[in-house]
Symmetry: C2
Subunit: 219 residues, 2 copies
Amino acid sequence: MALKQFAAIYHYSIPNTLEKEITIRTYKINEYILTAGEEIDGFYFLISGKYFVSSQEITGKELLLRYCQTPAIMGDIEILEDCLIQSNCIAAEPCTFVFIPKKIYEKELKYDASFSQILLRELAYKLRTCTISSRVNALSPANVRLAAFLCTVSSDSQVSYISTNNLEETAALIGTTKRHVNRILKQWMDQGIVERENDEVRILQWDKVKEISEDVRFE
Amino acid sequence: MALKQFAAIYHYSIPNTLEKEITIRTYKINEYILTAGEEIDGFYFLISGKYFVSSQEITGKELLLRYCQTPAIMGDIEILEDCLIQSNCIAAEPCTFVFIPKKIYEKELKYDASFSQILLRELAYKLRTCTISSRVNALSPANVRLAAFLCTVSSDSQVSYISTNNLEETAALIGTTKRHVNRILKQWMDQGIVERENDEVRILQWDKVKEISEDVRFE
DNA sequence: TTCTCCTCGGGACATCTGTCCTTTTGTAAT
DNA sequence: ATTACAAAAGGACAGATGTCCCGAGGAGAA
């Protein structure tokens, strides 16, 4: 049962008395898990799957902030800072979460030091990686970010292509335009790093892509 | 005495038994408080003054991450993640800190739920603002960042000028070059927004600068 | 099949920004 | 005052990236 996995992943056993308050939430691929600007209802502890986090400016510009695997927690900033949801979270694979309602946290877990330790570690991790990616996003040109994105997304899965249908979205995530992604891809084609066919871009030389990415990752 | 200020700022009273372990640390303006890559020795709780946080790439490129006033804590990421110091912290004004050695935290405060709550709030705040500035740094052009920097730095003080001696540093902090800052300043001069005289740049129309900044801040 | 419309890739151009180098300016020594 | 040196400002050019737009190809309707 999911609570066992929870305990294994997060090194914390939820008190028996609270178990009946905890629920499981699942999401399909590409489904929005959280939407920026809405109210948060509790903590989401990732048990399986992957999701990515992106944020939007008023201008509509978007930017990939993070790509998450277990362990990963959503809702922490919002509950601790008592604010609206800060970023969009979208399932990159089917996802399963253990959900702890905000009220239960406030009443039962807020002063549980072990539970706090989980949150502290998660926040510190997020902050460290956010700091890194902040620098990267600001100082790396778009071709590096695109390569880094590809390396991040397909680190283990065998996805060696980008569907052309997603080009627009991919571009937004790395903070640029479809036009520019096309430009980069064309350049890579000329160098034999990728090939395009119908609706997909196939990567022929992963080592080259990794080289271009300069070890930047959105983990 | 500083511990009283600490209690007032952070809403937490350090247990009497620990008071003798706590020290006060002060820094002069422009002094390095923490240097990236070194070992952390404890938590630093800002009591008075301001400092800024910047990080550096291997290339030497630098980027302003945050501008801090009370309440602000240093050392949290490093102690919680058990890693080396992530960023440079430099005093922007004379600064006073309450210093809690790492060992005291591990032994006495780690499972103190109230102390954890302070850290959680601070981390959540940092993460939220880091997320915002990440987007800003990536998606805003340099003139917006420069305006935002000026607004952030002089939000309350009456500093209405940049000393020319700092131009290089200012440029680095907003992630660009002195050449480009000069270009932006020249443009602002032509528009009558600033004037230059001897070693300083005086801002004539704060409202224009605020407008250019698009409400971006590095706080 | 043919026409229409929509989307995608890419050309052309403008803007932003970095690098390199020349000119200008300020300062100190003679 | 003159000269010499160092630091700052700015010109010139190149590369990165955004915007606008056009032509080609595919999907659906007639």
